[in-house]
Symmetry: C2
Subunit: 190 residues, 2 copies
Amino acid sequence: MNKGKLFVFTGPSGTGKGTILSEVLAAEPRLRVSVSATTRTPREGEIHGIHYWFMNHSTFEEKIAQNAFLEHACYVGNYYGTPEEPVNEQLDAGYDVILEIEVQGAMQIHDKRPDAVMIFVAPPSMEELEHRLYGRGTENSEKVAERLEQAKKELTYQKQFDYIIVNDTLSDAVFDLRSIIHAEHCRVEP
Amino acid sequence: MNKGKLFVFTGPSGTGKGTILSEVLAAEPRLRVSVSATTRTPREGEIHGIHYWFMNHSTFEEKIAQNAFLEHACYVGNYYGTPEEPVNEQLDAGYDVILEIEVQGAMQIHDKRPDAVMIFVAPPSMEELEHRLYGRGTENSEKVAERLEQAKKELTYQKQFDYIIVNDTLSDAVFDLRSIIHAEHCRVEP
């Protein structure tokens, strides 16, 4: 079996990354998601190695020092990151690996792994993104305004990606992501 | 509507280009094939502008002088070529255009149109290609040997293409070509 390919899948909050990815995973048996590492406490039902690699602060910081993460960040006092070794193991075994991560994390990988195929999910418009964020019903107008501000910043990075998927219709976006994965396997290495 | 994209689709004789393309055309309403020009006499039922643009030798040679062809060649005393203007008209109207042509013609377009997405169809192996050429039942062993010799030469060009589709299973090859077309619409221009 040939070596797999590494895909980075990112975009602003509310663009529907998770929904697109879960449909694509169901259709692509060769595709695996990476498991993140975190220092936060496991929640009820969360399994080590499935939902997260759970580790304590000092282990995480040791791994940062060893350059063991493809990307990492700190949110509200806890570390989150993508360990590189399990990703490489899956790629060597012939699986494609996709990382669904924040835009800032994606930019870290961009520099570290020139082999990574960089995919950005964009909303059809800022109006539509606002509409979707309100539609979730979980966020007040202050929080939505904050997310829109963040999205505007993140959208300025899209030209640094290999592909942009505009998530207008879910089924089209799912077909776009599947197309990118298959087309990349046909691509002639420069 | 956005401008369409130009695809060049080539590969050795017997690799199944025509079969792949007819299935993809049926699935992709935005995709059009280009119509070739020729100086040969129309056969029963062939319609000008549908099967070929029929023209006489002097008109064809005038158009060569005007650089009006994306590619052209002479076979057994007749000219064949792809006029550029109708291709550009379709692209401007928002259609993708695909040219199913010989490898030598494809290499001419490679130089002339850097915007063209270059796709090469390869057989899974030379043994399988030989098997398919005999399977057609239309060619004797001398003719098959000639075609295999030609295929070997043409395969040396494949690294100059953007994509290679190995036509092992027809349905996979059809999905590969559709994937390339859709992925190219998501690609960020460098």
